[in-house]
Amino acid sequence: MPSPAPAPNRSARTHLAPAPAPAPAPKETSMPSLVLAHTRYLLIEQIRVPIAILASAFFPAISMVAFVVPFAGRDPVAATTATGSLMFFGAMSAALIGLGNSVAQERELPWNPYLRTLPAGPLPRFAGRILATLAVMLISVIPVLVVAALFTEAAITPARLLLGFGALVAGVVPFMLMGLFVGFRLASKAAMAVSQLLFFPMAILGGLLLPPQVLPRFVQDVSSYVPTRGAAELIWWAIADARPSALSLVMLAVWTAAMAAAAAWAYRRDEGRRFS
């Protein structure tokens, strides 16, 4: 073997190998700090390439300006509920389309198996993804809120606003799970198409773009059975004290449970296929 030329920086060499005993007190890798590291990394990615955030924020904000401001802006109750509907529209887009795409894309990169060699189980990754999606979701609903505050008679107490955000987060859960299901099950191009195909019909059927009362009769008949309707009613309840129908809320719970089972199945199947 040729004898190695002495490295010029040998004296200044830093140590990559484990420190010899007595080792300095190791910094701990606590679960919260790992979750934070994953959340930060996923958020940076989203913010540097903000297509998903813009997509989630843009359409509902435009809809506010184009439809809600001129047609419902003077009616405080109608303006408030419409604002809630369009905020949910944006949040749902971030949850279903955003999460579905990012999970599907990430599965295709060799970075993904590398992450599994790092000393962490699946929890920090998963929690980081959910937290990053929630953060993007909350950012993307702000423009709608701003338009509502500036240009309509929509009015809300701070307590009800907080309650509304709670309802928004609760209502978006089945759509996050649906996004995970799509992302774990499909290739990224298919995930993009399928998540959009699911998104728009559900948004319309649930009464997010037009109030359910003005929808055609046959749409009203199915409306209570789509999860968007239950989520919307939950939000209207929180912000405008509009009493929800029991059927819609029960269906929301049923969808949440069904989507949780589907997402868990898709996750395990994907893990088994690629890493068993």
Partner: protein
């Protein structure tokens, strides 16, 4: 010596494909092991088993005495990601921070980047790095958590000669400090320069597991080189080449050849006898199963 990683009769199938076929081996503390084999021989599968990415279909794989699937065991290893998959929008410093966050004992981002000549690039997005810079970042990440054992898969592919030598120095110094390395490479020169022990795998089996010198010697041929006007008839010459007045002979028994050469009385000078290169040994070892098929 302490065994850091161990495979006991490990077999791995992907459907009908047998990627590893009853492999048993130990990686001991302080070793620098070169893993050689043609594409599809089972090198990646072996590393994937040790890194906890895959389970063996049968047999056992251990890491620090436990299962590689246990995240706590993986605190002691470092793995190179494929540089093509690094997240494009993250900065070099951010990605290093992120990977480091997983380990209790960290080198620290500034120090690690400086060590791999990436200190000036900490604020550069990965998407803006050259191929060589990405490769160096990928290798640096394997060392982020002060591992006891690193798996370096093709660490210098795509690097220029200078960068490759710098990285070799880094790997050697890690090894001198007591670190253990399992290295794969397409460059046999690299294995020859760095490794003490060589594992040759082919068709999912370990074909050879010995020192570099011993593996080189396994093919049982030597290169004899000498300067002469002409050569007499010599015994055991398997191949001969002439460049100007220098002859290069591949021979099975150099001692007998030299005796015959001296007895012939033919004038010659500049006699050199070299063992076969690792590349020749590798080709001979991995060609064998195909020849029998």
């Amino acid at each position: 010596m302490t065994v850091l990683a161990r495979a006991i009769d490990a077999t791995r199938r992907y459907g009908d494909v047998l990627a590893l076929d009853h492999v048993s081996l130990d990686l001991r503390a302080g070793e620098l092991v070169g893993l050689l084999g043609p594409n599809g021989a089972g090198k990646s599968t072996l590393i994937n088993l040790f890194a906890g990415l895959r389970r063996p279909t049968s047999g056992t794989v251990e890491l620090f005495g436990g299962s590689p699937l246990d995240p706590v065991r993986r605190r002691g290893i470092g793995v190179t990601p494929q540089e093509t998959g690094l997240p494009e929008s993250l900065r070099v410093g951010e990605i290093t921070d992120f990977v480091s966050a997983h380990f209790p004992d960290r080198v620290g981002t500034p120090e690690l980047l400086a060590r791999f000549g990436l200190g000036d690039l900490a604020r550069r997005q990965v998407g803006g790095l050259s191929g060589g810079q990405r490769r160096r970042l990928a290798v640096a990440l394997a060392f982020a958590g002060r591992p006891r054992l690193v798996f370096l898969d093709e660490p210098t592919t795509g690097l220029d000669v200078e960068a490759r030598r710098a990285l070799w120095d880094g790997i050697r110094s890690f090894h001198e400090e007591g670190g253990t390395v399992l290295l794969t490479s397409h460059y046999l020169e690299e294995i020859e320069a760095l490794a003490e022990r060589v594992l040759v795998v082919g068709s999912g089996r370990v074909l050879a597991d010995d020192t570099v010198g011993a593996v080189r010697g396994m093919v049982g041929t030597r290169r004899v080189s000498l300067v002469a006007d002409r050569l007499p008839e010599l015994p055991g010459v398997l191949a001969a080449e002439r460049a100007g007045d220098r002859f290069d002979l591949v021979v099975s028994d150099p001692d007998r050849l030299v005796v015959a050469l001296v007895r012939s009385g033919a004038p010659f000078s500049g006699l050199e006898i070299r063992p076969a290169t690792l590349e020749e040994a590798f080709l001979a070892l991995t060609a064998e199963p195909a020849a029998h098929a």
